[in-house]
């Protein structure tokens, strides 16, 4: 095989070493630092972006928690306001109901009083008219004068009996 010919070994060994060293030095001095730099720069940028994104996510989480707290506070406040409003409404309703009941009671009392007055007035009128009618009727029946005191007495007794027999008014 021609590869085993020792004649050219020294030259090949020498130039292999020189060529490889040249390549190693040039790559190591000029080319690889550029590649390594740009890779590091990109890695750094990606790291910064990730860090930035992490910060933003943390901020968003904080904001979210803050909003949740605020919402909870607003809910509490609204509930409190609602409870107070409900309580005020209930109190107002009870107050109105009490006033209304009082008014109704008062009206009822007035009505009873007026009714009573009217009744008594009616009774008085009835008595007066009845006494006249009874006197006239009795005088026509017996053709003699009846004393006013007797008629009054009879009338009283009739009315009392009428009152006893008739149902009571409320």
């Amino acid at each position: 095989m021609p590869q085993f010919d020792l004649t050219f070994f020294t030259a090949q060994i020498f130039w292999t070493l020189v060529s490889f060293l040249v390549l190693f030095l040039v790559l190591g001095r000029w080319v690889l630092p550029r590649i390594a730099d740009i890779l590091n720069e990109r890695t750094q940028l990606i790291k910064e972006e990730i860090e930035d994104a992490r910060h933003k996510r943390e901020e968003a989480e904080e904001l979210k928690l803050d909003y949740a707290d605020k919402l909870a506070a607003i809910d509490g406040e609204a509930k409190k306001m609602f409870d107070e409003s409900e309580k005020r409404l209930i109190e107002r309703r009870e107050q109105l109901m009490a006033e209304w009941k009082e008014e109704m009671e008062r009206k009822k009392r007035d009505f009873h009083e007026e009714t009573e007055v009217a009744r008594q007035m009616a009774m008085r009128d009835i008595r007066a008219q009845s006494a006249d009618l009874i006197t006239a009727a009795t005088e026509q029946l017996i053709h003699q004068k009846v004393g006013e005191a007797e008629i009054q007495k009879m009338l009283e007794e009739s009315i009392e009996e009428l009152e006893k027999s008739s149902p009571k008014n409320n």
């Binding site: 095989m1 021609p2 020294t10 130039w15 292999t16 060529s19 790559l27 000029w30 550029r34 740009i38």
Partner: protein
């Protein structure tokens, strides 16, 4: 790769283009040297061009260079467990040098520097001596402890030490031979197919030429794999030199 229908190994013959001597040492410029220089120029030129103006969002060339660098860096860090970062430039230079020397031989009319035992042997012995030097500088005489692994019964030491020494000394030989044989075999097969294609009758020419195309594709893969194997084994030897035994 040049063709000679009488000798399938003719395209491995070293031809001196210019006689040159450094004192008594012959440093003549041969086809091996010329194509080795071309490989080096190709690597430097291409990488220089694509990394001249590096951008944060890379173009195709820069991306390829970064991928290549990332690949070699990963392999180095995976195989050299302690302080692998400082060996990355060396491994990258070794990988690109071998890859370019392997690939340049696939151009018709060219020559494959890595098909020369002297070239692969120089690289392998250099790596071997570098690893041994690292071990000696780190452990001094402790270098020899690697031949008597811990936990081995004393009775077995007379057997183990020679085996370990042979295994150690065989490293540069296997490293050099693997690359040399692969390149020689691949290019010989390619040459044979090409000669067969030229010699075949016109209606059968498509068969060897078709295989040549397939073989060139395969050779390109082999060129990459061999460079990868050489670098990985170099890393393993350096890692072994740095480990405590």
């Amino acid at each position: 790769m040049s063709l000679n229908s009488h000798d399938p190994l003719a395209h491995f013959v070293v031809e001196v283009h210019y006689d040159l001597f450094l004192g008594p040492i012959d440093i003549s410029i041969s086809n091996t040297v010329v194509f080795m220089w071309l490989s080096v120029l190709l690597v430097i030129g291409l990488l220089w061009m694509v990394t001249r103006r590096t951008r944060l969002i890379p173009g195709r060339g820069q991306l390829l260079a970064e991928m290549l660098f990332g690949f070699v860096r990963r392999q180095t860090l995976m195989n050299i467990h302690k302080g692998g970062e400082r060996f990355v430039p060396l491994m990258f230079a070794l990988f690109t040098f071998i890859l370019a020397c392997n690939l340049i031989g696939l151009i018709p009319g060219s020559f494959t520097p890595t098909s020369q035992l002297a070239v692969t042997g120089t690289l392998a012995v250099s790596v071997f001596l570098y690893a041994a030097g690292l071990r000696i500088s780190k452990y001094g005489w402790g270098f020899f402890r690697a031949f008597a692994p811990k936990g081995v019964p004393k009775l077995l030491l007379p057997l183990m030490v020679p085996i370990e020494m042979i295994s150690f000394m065989a490293r540069p030989i296997t490293l050099a031979l693997r690359l040399f044989v692969n390149m020689t075999a691949g290019h010989t097969a390619l040459g044979m197919l090409a000669v067969l294609g030229l010699a075949a009758p016109w209606f059968l020419k498509w068969l060897p030429f078709g295989f040549s195309v397939l073989q060139i594709g395969l050779e390109m893969i082999i060129a990459f794999i061999q460079a990868y194997i050489f670098v990985v084994l170099s890393c393993v030897y350096i890692d072994d030199a740095l480990q405590e035994h």
